[in-house]
């Protein structure tokens, strides 16, 4: 007999933001599916339960009639299931293929990384959040989308405004307004590049949408570009910072990776596992079902905590430690199932093969700035909020 889903009253959003891992660990042990009142959603924290969910999109749907995301961005592929989702995903695939990434996008990412490092001031100190990780992610995403004449700062503001609006459960009017400004700005930026991309196709994402066998409508282009801007900027930014933070805090591992460049990819994957940039995402239960011994009901809203699953002790040895030398193992940092991160291979190149080796290779004696504090925050999305470093000139 399945148990009813327990209600947890003593986990606050503030504590989740500051450090979600103790709460995740407790939920995993005592209540692997639990209604956390502060979040207003049923959190799922065990690795195996999440894999079960992602192998069954008919029972655990991404589409959601009450989705705030649909209101902010339009109906994107992230909130579609089955054939509707498959066709849109297939349309953008050519821009994200690992071979295309390596041959077409990687050389551009390399120029972006080197330009940014060239611009570092000569005091031997910087906060990598604003001087490197954020512009690296933003400029790379801009190239991939095919947008022109937009500053990296503007794209980053759009991304943040959209994400804030999607999480705006309190209906704060100022957040709604900024979300609308971002949405309008993106629609206008798309309008500017459409004629050129229609006339001369290229490997960019918007171009792929236009060239697909099932060509995107303007509404589909707008919604999917917005979801890609919302979901494709902060994640590589945060992973650049998390990987750098992990290596700078663990000199032995850093020495290993400087010795053997093949380890950069392991460092990247370990960072995505250790502090997953997307820690939680939603699913909706479409029929009564038992999960992890708990009885779920049709209509229940789930929060899939991959940030927790990636520290599940039944899958990972000493999961709280950053260890690039741990045995290769699947993690859920890119999600699983049909919505598996489309940008996985982009991030592997941009972050693991280009941004980090450039940073550690070019800046002599790169180290954490002992006078400043590294702050991390978030549980739905998580990463360093700043990463002040020094190097020798």
């Amino acid at each position: 007999m399945a148990n009813p889903v327990p209600v947890i009253d003593d986990i606050s959003l503030e504590s989740l933001y500051a450090d979600p891992y103790p709460s995740f660990q407790r939920l995993q042990r005592d209540a692997p599916v639990a209604f956390v009142r502060a979040a207003g959603i049923n959190l799922v924290t065990r690795f195996d339960d999440i894999v079960q969910i992602e192998r069954d999109f008919e029972t655990f749907a991404s589409s959601n009639p009450v989705s705030l995301m649909n209101r902010v961005m339009g109906h994107s592929l992230m909130r579609k299931d089955g054939e509707d989702h498959r066709l849109e995903r297939k349309a953008i695939e050519p821009s994200f293929r690992p071979g295309v990434v390596r041959n077409h996008w990687a050389p551009r990412f390399r120029v972006i990384a080197d330009d940014l490092i060239d611009q570092f001031d000569d005091h031997g100190a910087t906060d990598l959040f604003g001087s490197f990780a954020a512009p690296m992610a933003s400029l790379s995403l801009m190239e991939m989308l095919g947008l022109r004449d937009v500053s990296w700062q503007e794209l980053a503001i759009w991304s943040q405004s959209l994400m804030d609006a999607v999480g705006n459960y309190g209906q704060d009017p100022e957040v709604i307004r900024r979300g609308q400004v971002a949405s309008d700005g993106i629609d206008a930026a798309i309008e500017v590049v459409l004629p050129k991309l229609e006339a001369s196709p290229d490997p960019s994402i918007i171009s792929s949408m236009l060239q697909a066998e099932d060509k995107h409508s303007i509404a589909q282009i707008r919604a999917n570009v917005k979801v890609i801007i919302g979901g494709g900027l902060n994640e590589p930014r945060d992973t650049i910072l998390t990987t750098a933070y992990g290596l700078l805090s663990n000199p032995d591992q850093r020495a290993c990776v400087m010795e053997d460049a093949n380890l950069w990819s392991a460092a990247f994957e370990e960072a995505v596992r250790w502090i997953s940039p997307i820690g939680m995402y939603p699913r909706r239960v479409t029929r009564d079902v038992v999960l992890g011994g708990m009885q779920l009901r049709e209509g229940d809203q789930l929060g899939i905590c991959v940030g927790a699953a990636n520290r599940d002790e039944s899958h990972f040895d000493r999961p709280d430690l950053f260890d690039i030398l741990r045995p290769k193992q699947s993690h859920l940092g890119f999600g699983a199932g049909p919505h598996y991160c489309a940008g996985t291979w982009v991030a592997r190149q941009m972050v693991g093969a280009i941004a980090l080796p450039a940073l550690f290779g070019r800046l002599k004696d790169l180290r954490l700035d002992e006078a400043a504090e590294v702050k991390l925050g978030g549980w739905v999305f998580r990463g360093p909020l700043s990463l002040p470093v020094r190097w020798s000139i």
Binding site: R97, G99, V100, S330, A336, G337, T344
Partner: protein, 106 residues
């Protein structure tokens, strides 16, 4: 139901009854065959359901689409001429008795 024989890198064989219309990847997961990870559950996005097929039966597998073709260059174990992503291979009656070898790593 066509029988598919999965062979681990160490040589262990496991014969399973596959359902026509499913993918080889689904047949492996359904029967708990180890060695197929399938992180993306059949979207051809992760390259973790790589498998080696029988050389003289490749024509039974259906064509490789552009996306799979690209992805196959990025498998964890070496790509061979008999490599496919098992999520992109649909089980048919003609495949009865087919041997599918699993790679060292995914």
């Amino acid at each position: 139901m066509p029988k598919i024989i999965f062979v681990q890198p160490c040589g262990t064989r496991r014969e399973v009854e596959a359902t026509q219309g499913n993918s080889i990847m689904e047949a492996a997961l359904k029967h708990g065959v180890t060695g197929i990870t399938a992180e993306c559950n059949g979207s051809a996005a992760c390259a973790t359901c790589h498998a080696y097929f029988e050389d003289d039966r490749l024509s039974q597998l259906g064509a490789i689409e552009a996306h799979e073709e690209d992805m196959l260059d990025f498998t964890a174990s070496e790509r061979l001429p008999v490599s496919r992503l098992s999520c992109q291979v649909t089980v048919t009656d003609a495949m009865d008795g087919m041997i599918v070898r699993l790679p060292e790593s995914q």
